[in-house]
């Protein structure tokens, strides 16, 4: 069995060496080869799926770049695990587990970021569409014009929505449906009452009266900005308390950790019976109070 495995390994090496030779003969350097492999991964089905998850988390990395970053984190983790006494295969397994689970946790925690970015950029989207709709009077032309005029400073979410919608229009799609689909693609599982969905709904009225729709989009942008300003003002009024509800427990926890790390008798006392349940109860009380303070101020 080991002989077969050795033969397969040799064959794989031979095939890889042949491919490398061909690449060099065609004038491609090693860096180009890596870039082409990265592009191929980005275009593959798993790469596209990962790209969609990265967009939803608003992490500006290509799928290949994300995998490269994971590899760059995995190497030091494996070295640390090996230095801590783990066998090399175990260290590799630990690093792979840490990096894979940490990466997917990060993507999962941030999966609503695209929706938030699109909600924040909805006034910009509404203004861009209003300007073009007032100028052209046609939904398709408005989408194409908005894409052409989108500047470098525009939000990435707006750019993505407009480009997606314009591409669908160029392929013969209806402007209204194209904008709806583009919004849905840019922020999947967006509730229908979200700001971007409302912009798409108002834009759909251009078939009835494009001038009135342009005015309505402009007014909607102003309303969305007023809503955001009201939220920001209310948050600013309670910002210090919200921060202190988190900062005080964190400072206390840091002090406690330093004390327990530098004072073995204190650590022994903290792990003994009278103090351990007291510390647990204090933790529960502080976490509950902190959460309820933040909840009270968020409502």
């Amino acid at each position: 069995m080991s002989g077969v495995a050795f033969c397969v390994l040799l064959a794989a090496l031979a095939v890889g060496a042949r491919d490398l030779r061909r690449e060099r003969r065609d004038g491609q350097s090693g860096a180009h080869l890596v870039a082409r492999l990265a592009q191929r991964f980005d275009r593959s089905r798993p790469g596209r799926r990962l790209g969609a998850r990265l967009w939803r988390a608003q992490i500006r990395l290509s799928p290949a770049g994300w995998r490269g970053a994971q590899l760059m984190i995995a190497v030091p983790v494996a070295v640390i695990a090996a230095a801590a006494g783990a066998a090399p295969p175990a260290a590799l397994a630990v690093a792979a587990t840490v990096v894979r689970s940490g990466g997917s946790l990060l993507l999962r925690v941030r999966r609503g970021e695209a929706s938030r970015a699109l909600a924040a950029a909805a006034p910009q989207l509404a203004r861009a569409l209003a300007t073009e709709l007032a100028a052209w009077g046609s939904g398709s032309q408005a989408l194409s014009g908005a894409v052409r005029r989108s500047a470098a400073g525009d939000a990435a979410a707006v750019e993505r929505v407009l480009q997606g919608a314009a591409a669908r229009v160029v392929l013969g799609g209806d402007a209204t449906a194209a904008l709806h689909r583009a919004v849905d693609d840019a922020a999947p599982r967006l509730p229908p009452s979200s700001p971007a969905s409302r912009v798409a709904a108002v834009f759909a009225l251009h078939g009835h009266d494009s001038a009135a729709t342009a005015v309505a989009l402009e007014r909607l942008a102003a309303s969305l900005e007023a809503d955001a300003a009201a939220r920001d003002d209310a948050r600013a009024a309670t910002g210090e308390v919200r921060m202190s509800a988190v900062a005080v427990p964190i400072l206390a926890a840091a002090t406690l950790v330093m004390l327990l790390a530098t004072d073995p008798p204190a650590l022994a006392a903290a792990l003994s019976l009278p103090l351990l349940p007291l510390l647990g109860a204090a933790t529960v009380v502080v976490v509950a109070a902190s959460a309820s303070v933040r909840r009270m101020l968020a409502a």
Binding site: R189, P192, A201, L217, S244, L256, S272, M296, L297
Partner: protein, 317 residues
């Protein structure tokens, strides 16, 4: 005996976890999503509805008056999703020509959801009680759990409906904005209401859809909207109803009037949010000063004193 106790406790815990997973599984409505096929929950609710028709007390007289509004207000709450799944399973079985089960009314489906909740909640408790307290106590606990759990869907649905009405108050201005845009674009009132309802939170959407139906059946628009707003507990739509009435009687342009109302609602909402922040800020400061900071300080001091006592360095005589 200990092994069987542990096995029963583990089984009960697993059942509790499975029940909670089933209850808390949440699906967000998606724009343009196709109708999903009926799942296991829908078939279970349908089967439980058939069984519930033979059991007394699961269908209640108040269902007809309160349930439709609550289901419309809180479609994402788990009892509403169970009932929707039951309706989907029912229509699927009717469309596929199987038709093995009779078509239950809404009240019977709700009774099925109540029975299903009771059946899911009682066995874990009974299993734990059998393991630790014996058969008589477990029978008593099972009966109590069954009776309590059958009330759970109603409690959850009522709470979710109240929350929906509360959160709808924040979104009224945005919804009125969309209604103003549709009116300004020249859509007929029922069309405008239905289109706006598609982009409004559930509570406002329910009011607008019901008012559109009333209007389509010949009712006066203002009166229809006012009546539905009262029925769903959203009195702030009364001003919109008044604008509809003025438009009908005096011919005032609806779009501009609705935009004005939305602007005023937004200003009121902003003022209320700032008032609330000003009122709650000191309360939160009090909670930080009286609960969080002293508890943190007490924990640090306790560890410090414990360390000194443990090391024998505390200068006590």
């Amino acid at each position: 005996m200990i092994v069987s106790r542990e096995a029963l406790t583990v089984a009960g815990t697993l059942l509790v976890v499975a029940s909670l997973g089933l209850l808390l599984r949440r699906g967000t409505p998606r724009v343009g999503e196709a109708e999903p096929p009926p799942g296991a929950v829908g078939r279970l609710v349908l089967a439980a509805a058939a069984l519930a028709s033979h059991l007394p007390g699961l269908e209640r007289h108040s269902d007809a008056s309160t349930l439709p509004a609550r289901l419309a207000l809180a479609p994402a709450a788990w009892p509403a999703r169970w009932i929707a799944a039951g309706l989907r399973a029912q229509s699927h079985s009717a469309a596929s020509g199987r038709g093995g089960m009779p078509s239950p009314a809404l009240g019977r489906l709700v009774a099925g959801a109540r029975l299903l909740t009771g059946v899911l909640a009682a066995p874990p408790l009974v299993a734990v009680c059998v393991a630790w307290f014996g058969a008589p106590a477990s029978a008593l606990a099972g009966s109590v759990a069954l009776a309590t759990a059958t009330r759970l869907p109603d409690v959850v649905l009522a709470a979710a409906a109240r929350r929906a009405v509360r959160s709808a108050r924040h979104d009224t201005a945005a919804t009125v904005d969309v209604l103003a845009a549709t009116a300004a674009a020249g859509l007929s009132l029922p069309e405008a209401m239905v289109l706006t309802a598609g982009h409004a939170p559930p509570a406002l959407a329910a009011v607008l859809r019901a008012a559109a139906v009333r209007r389509a059946m010949g009712g006066e628009p203002g009166a229809a909207l006012a009546a539905e707003a009262r029925r769903y507990g959203l009195p702030m739509l009364g001003e919109v109803a008044q604008a509809l009435e003025w438009q009908r009687l005096l011919g005032t342009p609806l779009g501009a009037e609705l935009s004005r109302i939305a602007g005023r609602m937004r200003a009121e909402h902003r003022a209320a949010a700032l008032r609330r922040a000003a009122r709650r800020g000191p309360l939160a400061t009090l909670a930080v000063a009286l609960v969080i900071a002293p508890t943190c300080l007490a924990a640090v001091v306790a560890c410090l004193v414990g360390g000194l006592l443990q090391g024998g360095t505390l200068p006590l005589r």
